[in-house]
Amino acid sequence: MQASSKIPTDVSYLEYKGKHKGLLSWILSTDHKRIGLLYMYSMMTLFLIGVVLGLAMKFELIAPGKTIMEAKDYNAVFTVHGVIMIFMIVVPGLPAVFGNFLLPIMIGAKDVAFPKLNLASWYVYIAGAFLVIASVLFGDGSPDTGWTFYAPYSFKTGTNMLPAIFGAFVLGFSSILTGLNFIVTIHRLRAPGMTWTKMPLFPWTLYGTAWIQLLATPIVGITLVLVSLERIFGIGVFDPALGGDPILYQHLFWIYSHPAVYIMILPAMGAISEIIPTFSQKHVFGYKAIVASTLAIAFVGYFVWGHHMFTSGMSGTAQYTFSILTFLVAIPSAIKVFNWISTMYKGSINVQTPFYWAVSFIFVFMIGGLSGLVLGALATNVYVHDTAFVVAHFHFIVFGGVGFAFFGAIHYWFPKMFGRMYDSTWANAGWLIFTIGFLTLYSPMFYLGMQGMPRRYYDYLEEFHAANILSTMGSWVMTLGLVIILINLFRSAKSGAIAPKDPWNGKTLEWTVPSPPPVENYEEIPVYGEKDGPYEYK
């Protein structure tokens, strides 16, 4: 162990030859950029599994009655789809991929605070993913409880629940470690002169998210442990036969799982808050309002879980309280939307692929958010509870919000990550087809839910047929768009035109380093002067 090893500053992290070669140089690397890509490739794989399961569900619903699978297979498919998409894709999504890759660069650091822990988090993530996959492949049938693992069914069903529940627990652990790492990184490693109010907005949202990860995930952790112990030993806490209360499970589960929605959406908002100023060539409007609303969402989001349980049996007072708090969350979310729009106002807008994604993000996010108010209001909630309306709502927020932001982010930072440009024509075509498919897929579900079609059934009444056909066709269009996007990105990563340092004229720090960045990011740690800031457009 001699300190003589000088890391070259002119070799990019992609070409750098460390001690290991080939695959090992990736899976043993503590470089935050390589870890970010490790997460991206693993998530891409899992995401495609989730997409295939989603397609299978939509295909089953193309006609009433059995189409391609039995009811119990359908139950397994929506469960595994949910577990993969929630715990492995949207919760870790933006922080693990873009947070890892960009956080240190954006705050002017050479790496995260704990690089080894960072790599360990990836291994923990993979272990969790394998456990969930194993629950499908081995044992007595795939999990069929839905991703929420509701008691008492989750310990009564004969299917292979334990690996799935334990997998979710392990994935939560990975999430906690990443959050912990980011908080310390942001506290300790910001470049000299980068005060809190000069930090770019994406790191700010990562900071908010990291705190929720840290403070909410342990609750679901212990809840999943309890439900597992209930299943193995019969300890009684959630089993009505032994005096336990299944509703308590729901409370504990949603104490985490609602804040988890904000774990997902905050970094998505952060990415959008980076894209919009860059493509408007203008200082972001209301920087402090965006920061304050980020923290407000993180804080208030903690106290709204009860709105998942309006029909589960709660006192009237509890219902009103949760309903009012739910409405409160809409305020900071709306503030952000106003800020994004105002940033564009009188800007010199440069319409590129990331900008398309950002604008469509705002559109779908607003539909998702406003339909969320329908669900947050007691009277309407009782009417559409557990219908396709809810499914439409959270797909607009979770997939529309996080998914669109993810694709926006990857088209924004792709040149930085791979040092190459992508083909804009194909990227735009992919975006258009994807967006049309997305809207065709999920919009009819609002209507179906209003008409009373329940969620999580493989069958439905004849009167819902037409809208379901439309929705299923939407799923094909969306998948086509997805395939175009991915092929374009993969081809461009190999053979796209060489990207300059700053292709979009961005002003945050990541655009001051070469594309792709060198292993150490910075030869010398940048210093923020009095007048410097993340969005200083002249």
Binding site: M1, Q2, A3, S5, I7, G18, K19, S29, T30, D31, K110, D111, A113, F114, P115, K116, L117, I176, L180, N181, I183, V184, H187, R188, L189, L214, L215, A216, T217, P218, I219, G221, I222, T223, V225, L226, L229, F233, G234, I235, G236, V237, L242, G243, G244, D245, L248, L252, I255, V519, E520
Partner: protein
Amino acid sequence: MSQVIHHDEHYDPEGSKIGMWLFIFTELLLFGGLFIVYSVYRYLNQDAFHLAAEELNTTVGAINTVILLISSMTIAMSTTALQKKQKATTIVLLEITFMLALVFLINKYFEWGIKFDHGIFPGSEYMKEEMSQGEILFFGLYFVMTGLHALHIIVGMVIMGFALARIKNGTVHENRPSLLENAGLYWHLVDLIWIFLFPLFYLIH
């Protein structure tokens, strides 16, 4: 390896202390979930919890409390000894802490063993036939919470083991004390949680 070497050059005791505190938050919340469950069922089954608590041996519980309190003291002394560059004292004090943790586990083992002999364990026929639902819940929580706490004792011992090895080979010393300090912080947490578990299960009647 060169990459790793570089990262080792970056040493930030303040950062690793913040990291440990954050981790301690998560641990508190983990047990916090259990404390919520406990308080809900205590509120709903006050008589049964009272009755069931009589089954527990307050003396053993009190002895274990004293053991943990002393062990918290010895690990704190060990940290101070490291700051004062007294390597041998550091090691001895840490070993004492380790042994106290082991004694705690042994006591716990016998305590649980006696319960098992009496047919008190989750899912037992005896409990289902002889006990009320509130008592079943009490013992369900008793085993989960003290069991999870025992698991934390074991984790704490593993961390102490690492700290011991690295103090001995000289990679943890007065200028790089983070591992020992963090082991200490973690150990105080384990102690603190027990301070809450002890009255909740043994003392409140």
